[in-house]
């Protein structure tokens, strides 16, 4: 049974298109890894599914319901939760208050006690201000905050960013417990090996397009790495060695950068904000 379906999704920022006809689906309890270099559109895809960005074209369905036109807070109530890139906790709230913020009205296994059981280090620091916690503690709070909404779909954006490998290992050891609760996970991870090990299936994004997809166990690693870098032909052997995450080259095309010949930034089009969004 498919929980989340994304079909033919175009999205971006103002006049910069970041996603081109992206399609994917997530089955009940499944974990899918999203692989790609910086700027490939992984975070954009997650933010578009969560509702922070409104898609230009395409469908997003959750349990058969088209949610592409719904505002972000509504999607949260329907069961989409995100662990945003860079954690983005509410710094002036305590760790516990951060976890109590989600107001989705959804019941489920992830009570405060269950979350403290999952992350004992958060329980110990529950009354500390989130802004004063260590990076690992903050990441734990961010995951707990997302789970506290008892979501159907959990979007995890680079939980390993800026953390020591041992700390990241700790999070990935907890992943099976989270998966057992029935939530399906869309996981963005720079470290290809980690991503493949933790997921059932994997997708590779390159410059906003899905260039490769398959079962994590059966994917050809060399082909995946050349897809990751957008290399035209043979894989580079130096990049295939196992170990820490390969450092991707900085090759995306951010807005404002000269556009290579043959590729043009689309004309300015008014992109309606996803919903009244109040800047600060």
């Amino acid at each position: 049974m498919t929980t989340l379906t994304v079909a033919g999704l175009d999205a971006g920022y103002r006049d910069f298109q970041a996603l081109f006809g992206v399609s994917l689906d997530l089955a009940e309890g499944e974990t899918v890894a999203l692989i790609g270099a910086n700027g490939a559109g992984k975070s954009t895809l997650l933010m578009t599914i969560a509702g922070a960005l409104r898609p230009w074209r395409g469908r997003i369905t959750l349990d058969g319901l088209d949610i592409a036109g719904l505002p972000d807070h509504h999607r949260a109530r329907l069961g989409i939760a995100i662990v945003p890139e860079g954690r983005r906790l509410f710094p002036s709230l305590t760790a516990e208050e951060n976890i109590l913020v989600p107001t989705t009205g959804r019941g489920g296994p992830w009570s405060l006690d269950a979350l403290y059981d999952l992350f004992p280090m958060v329980a110990a620091r529950r009354s500390h201000r989130a802004g004063l916690l260590s990076g690992g503690e903050q990441q734990a709070v961010a995951i707990a905050r997302a789970l506290a909404a008892n979501p159907r779909v959990l979007l995890m954006d680079e939980v390993s960013l800026g953390l020591a490998p041992a700390v990241v290992d700790g999070f990935y050891r907890l992943l099976p417990r989270i998966q057992q609760s029935g939530v399906c996970i869309l996981l963005v991870e720079q470290d290809i090996d980690r991503a493949l090990a933790a997921s059932d299936r994997a997708l590779c994004l390159l410059e906003g397009r899905v260039v490769m997809a398959g079962d994590s166990a059966g994917l050809d690693r060399d082909r995946l790495i050349s897809a990751y870098f957008g290399a035209p032909s043979a894989p580079r052997s130096s990049a295939t060695k196992t170990g820490p995450a390969p450092v991707p080259p900085d090759k995306p095309v951010p807005p404002g950068k000269p556009v290579p010949p043959g590729k043009r930034v689309p004309p300015a089009r008014p992109v309606p904000p996803a919903d009244p969004e109040v800047p600060r």
Partner: protein, 353 residues
């Protein structure tokens, strides 16, 4: 909407110039429209200057009001539209200019000759007051500048030598022949407008203009690329204050009398805001259009009391929320017009081989 996929041939303009060829792109700061506009403006100024001989001085009195409104709008726009400083306290400098002119007149200096001195006095005061305001931004700056004006108002009302709360009159001009006085007032007001609007335009086109627009948009980023944010803000503030000082001097010259409650009135700030916002914040043309609209509203709807202010307030709110670029921005944005360009325009200028 449609995206050209890789493989589609790129249009010629996007292709980099071939090596050795003459640069196909021309950067210009001027346009034919600007030449025409400048010529028209020059003709208009000459015609306006001749007006007292043609239409007599009956109609010049309201024209003085219009000139001063337009000058105020241009200066307020220099602060808010370019340097990002919304001030609700520029009436402070109207008051300083007016009272400086009064004091200079008492010292025996001819009022018309004293206008530059009154402007200088306002500039000197602004340099001092800016020390209080320099670190502030946004609402803090807006309200703090307002409080400064209130302080000056409260101070003047307690000072007998400045006429206290009842105000002061300009004795010297009362003895002039009215027709001569009114014509002189008219020409001086026109000169003040030309200096404020034209000077503002030249300023915005200068290095200062680039700096101030950067400062107004993103002060932190502007500082990071080497713009001296504080110096730019201070220069804008002091120069605008000099202009307001001259306008304040004109207020007492045209009215022959000034009292603190009217010259330090927050309503001047309201007028400035309405003119600039309705016409188009951050454009050269917008404030002048806004001044015409406010002036027309004042003339047409004055008999309905303060209702026209209610209407103008509602219009300003609607413009801010629905068409933030103002009336001029709506026109120019749609057509790509700019009668008086302030930026750099890059134009493809490909010669046929």
């Amino acid at each position: 909407m449609t995206m050209k996929r890789p493989g589609t041939p790129a249009p010629p303009a996007a292709r980099p110039p071939a090596a050795g060829a003459t640069a196909p792109v021309q950067v210009s700061r001027w346009s034919t429209a600007a030449t025409v506009t400048t010529a028209c403006a020059a003709v208009a100024v000459v015609l306006l200057a001749l007006a007292p001989y043609v239409i007599g001085t009956n109609l010049t009195q309201p024209m003085v009001t219009l000139f001063l409104l337009a000058a105020m709008a241009s200066l307020w726009n220099l602060l808010a539209g370019y340097a990002g400083m919304i001030s609700f306290g520029q009436q402070a400098y109207l008051g300083i200019g007016a009272y400086a002119l009064y004091l200079l007149g008492r010292a025996g200096i001819s009022p018309f000759a004293a206008i530059p001195l009154a402007a200088a006095a306002a500039a000197v005061a602004a340099a001092g007051i800016f020390l209080i305001l320099r670190r502030l931004s946004g609402g803090y700056f807006a309200v703090a500048s307002w409080v400064v004006a209130e302080c000056l108002f409260l101070y003047v009302t307690t000072q007998g030598w400045l006429g206290g709360g009842t105000g002061v009159g300009l004795q010297q001009l009362s003895s002039m022949v009215p027709v001569v006085r009114e014509a002189d007032t008219y020409w001086t007001a026109l000169a003040v407008l030309v200096l404020c609007a034209g000077g503002g335009y030249l300023l915005v086109r200068s290095r200062f203009g680039l700096d101030s627009r950067a400062t107004g948009g993103e002060p932190v980023a502007a500082a990071a690329v080497g713009v001296e944010v504080q110096r730019t803000r201070r220069l804008a503030y002091v120069l605008a204050a000099a202009g307001f000082g001259a306008i304040g001097a004109m207020l007492i010259i045209s009215g022959l009398y000034i009292d603190p409650a009217s010259v330090f009135n927050i309503n001047y700030s309201a007028d400035m805001l309405f003119m600039v916002v309705i016409g188009g914040l951050g454009t050269i043309e917008g404030p002048l259009i806004g001044a015409l609209i406010l002036f027309a509203a004042q003339q047409v709807f004055a008999q309905y009391g303060a209702w026209y202010l209610v209407g103008i307030g509602a219009l300003a709110i609607a413009v801010v929320l629905l068409a933030p670029a103002g009336l001029w921005g709506m026109v120019s944005g749609r057509r790509g017009w700019s009668l008086l360009p302030v930026g750099y325009r890059v134009r493809s200028h490909r010669r046929s081989p």
